[in-house]
C-alpha cells in the first residue's frame, strides 16, 4: 500500500493541530508559574501568542475533519461532503474535537487579565491538551489508557508548549530575570518530563503485547524512532538545566546565548516528535489492539 496525498495531508494537519494546541495550553501553563517573574509587556506578548495558537488550533481542527472526510470520499469534493463529515464526527471526533474547541475557546479567558479569567484559562488548557486522549488508540484500549495518555499530554504541554513563551521572554529580558525564569521553568519541566515519560512508558506497556513488539512490529518501530528523538530532546533539556541555567546565575552572557540556541533546537526536535506521533497515530495500530 502506498502513501496517498491524503495521508500526507492528514499527518501534516494533525502535526499542526498538536503543535498549536500544546503551544496554546503550554503558554497558559508558562504564565501560571512565571507571571510574577516577567514584565507586563512580555506577559501580554505571551497572551497574544496563546490566542494566536488557539485560533490556529481551532482552524486546524476544522480542516482536519474535512481532510479525513476527503480521504474517505471522492477526492476534493469529499472534503465538503456533509454526510462524510458527519460520519467522521460520529466516529468519536465529535467528542474529542468538541472538547478541544471548547477548551481552546475558553482559553480566551486569559485576555480578561483577572484571577478568575486566569483560572478559567488554566482549566481550559487542561481540557484542550487532554482532548487527544478521547479518541484513537488510547480510547479504544480503555479508561486506564485514556488516563495515562491524558497525563502524558499534560506533560507535553507543560514542557514543549512552554518553549516558545520562554524564547519570547528570553530574547528580551535581562540576564538576572532570564536566570530566574529559566530556573523556574527548569524546576517545573523536571516534573513535566517525569510525568510525561512515566505515563508514556505505562501507556506503551498497555499498547504492546510484549517487549519484542518494539522491533518486530511496524508500530513498535515507529515508537522506537520517536523514543530516539525524545532521548536527544531530553539530553538537550538536561544541558539547559544543568549547564546553562547555573551559569546564568553568574551573569554569563554566553550562557544566555547558549540557552536560547538550545531552546530553538528543542523546538525543532519537538516538532519532529509531533510529526512522527501524527504518523504513528494515523497509520499504524498498536499490537495489543490487533
Amino acid at each position: 500500500m502506498q502513501f496517498s496525498a491524503w495521508d500526507v495531508a492528514a499527518i501534516g494537519i494533525k502535526a499542526i493541530l498538536y503543535a498549536a494546541t500544546f503551544c496554546a495550553a503550554g503558554g497558559v501553563f508558562f504564565l501560571l508559574y512565571s507571571r510574577s517573574l516577567i514584565a507586563l509587556d512580555d506577559e501580554r506578548r505571551v497572551r497574544w501568542w496563546v490566542g494566536l495558537c488557539a485560533v490556529v488550533a481551532i482552524a486546524a481542527s476544522a480542516v482536519r475533519l474535512s481532510i479525513i472526510a476527503g480521504s474517505m470520499g471522492d477526492g476534493f469534493s469529499g472534503t465538503l461532503d456533509g454526510s462524510m463529515v458527519r460520519m467522521v464526527l460520529e466516529a468519536g471526533e465529535a467528542r474529542a474535537t468538541g472538547m478541544r474547541i471548547t477548551g481552546l475557546l475558553l482559553i480566551g479567558a486569559i485576555f480578561l487579565e483577572t484571577s478568575c479569567g486566569f483560572i478559567a484559562a488554566s482549566l481550559s488548557a487542561f481540557l484542550a491538551a487532554t482532548s487527544f486522549a478521547w479518541i484513537g488508540h488510547a480510547w479504544a484500549a480503555g479508561r486506564w489508557s485514556v488516563a495515562l495518555l491524558s497525563l502524558h499530554l499534560i506533560g507535553v504541554a507543560f514542557w514543549l508548549g512552554a518553549l516558545v513563551p520562554l524564547l519570547l521572554v528570553g530574547q528580551r529580558t535581562d540576564l538576572s530575570s532570564l536566570a530566574r525564569i529559566a530556573k523556574r521553568f527548569g524546576d517545573i519541566a523536571v516534573i513535566g518530563v517525569g510525568v510525561l515519560l512515566l505515563a508514556g512508558s505505562f501507556l506503551l506497556a498497555t499498547l504492546l503485547r510484549q517487549a519484542s513488539d518494539l522491533w518486530n512490529t511496524e508500530y513498535g518501530r515507529f515508537v522506537g524512532g520517536k523514543l530516539l528523538i525524545v532521548a536527544v530532546l531530553t539530553a538537550a533539556a538536561a544541558v539547559n538545566k544543568l549547564r546553562f541555567t547555573p551559569r546564568l546565575q553568574t551573569q554569563d552572557a554566553a550562557a544566555a546565548y547558549g540557552l536560547l540556541r538550545s531552546i530553538r533546537a528543542e523546538l525543532l526536535l519537538g516538532g519532529l516528535i509531533l510529526i512522527v506521533t501524527a504518523a504513528l497515530t494515523s497509520l499504524v495500530g498498536p499490537p495489543a489492539l490487533d
Binding site: 500500500m1 502513501f3 495521508d7 499527518i11 479525513i68 480521504s71 474517505m72 470520499g73 471522492d74 454526510s83 462524510m84 458527519r86 460520519m87 467522521v88 460520529e90 466516529a91 468519536g92 471526533e93 474529542a96 479518541i135 484513537g136 488508540h137 480510547w139 479504544a140 511496524e218 518501530r221 515507529f222 524512532g225 528523538i229 536527544v232 533546537a265 525543532l268 526536535l269 519532529l272 510529526i275 512522527v276 504518523a279 494515523s282 497509520l283 499504524v284 495500530g285 498498536p286 489492539l289 490487533d290
Partner: protein, 122 residues
C-alpha cells in the same frame, strides 16, 4: 545532527507500509479471490470491529464505478451493499470504512470474478 534526524524520520515515514489503523476486513461475500457463477445482488463486508462503510467502488474492465452506500446506517461489524448491473468478468472492490471506537479510517480492496454463464453451467 538535526538534519540527520530529520532525514532519518523522513526515510522511516517513506518506507513505512501503512495499515491504516486497526479496523480490518475479516471476510466478504463474494469472498476475496472467489469465482462465482451467479451474479451477486449484494456485496457484504465483515470487519473485526464495529465500523461504518463510507465508500465502495468497483473496478471492472478498466472502468471505475462508485456504488451508493447508506452513510446514515448505524455502525456494525457487517455492511451489506446492494449492487446492480454486474456482468461476467473480474471485479476489484475498493472499500473505505471508519472505525467507531477510535475514529480511524480503514481502506482495503479484494478481487472476485463472475464466471461467464455458459462456462458456469458447463
Amino acid at each position: 545532527m538535526l538534519r540527520t534526524l530529520f532525514l532519518s524520520a523522513a526515510v522511516a515515514l517513506t518506507l513505512a507500509t501503512p495499515s491504516f489503523g486497526h479496523a480490518k476486513l475479516l471476510s466478504s461475500s463474494p469472498a476475496s479471490g472467489a469465482q462465482v457463477a451467479e451474479v451477486p445482488k449484494t456485496i457484504t463486508l465483515t470487519f473485526n470491529e464495529e465500523a461504518k462503510l463510507a465508500a465502495l467502488t468497483l473496478l471492472h474492465a478498466g472502468k471505475e464505478t462508485s456504488v451508493a452506500v447508506d452513510k446514515s446506517a448505524p455502525s456494525a461489524k457487517s455492511a451489506v451493499v446492494p449492487v446492480t448491473g454486474l456482468t461476467p468478468g473480474t471485479y476489484e472492490v475498493h472499500w473505505t470504512a471508519i472505525a467507531t471506537d477510535d475514529g480511524h479510517v480503514a481502506k482495503g480492496s479484494f478481487i472476485f470474478t463472475i464466471k461467464n454463464a455458459s462456462l458456469a453451467t458447463s
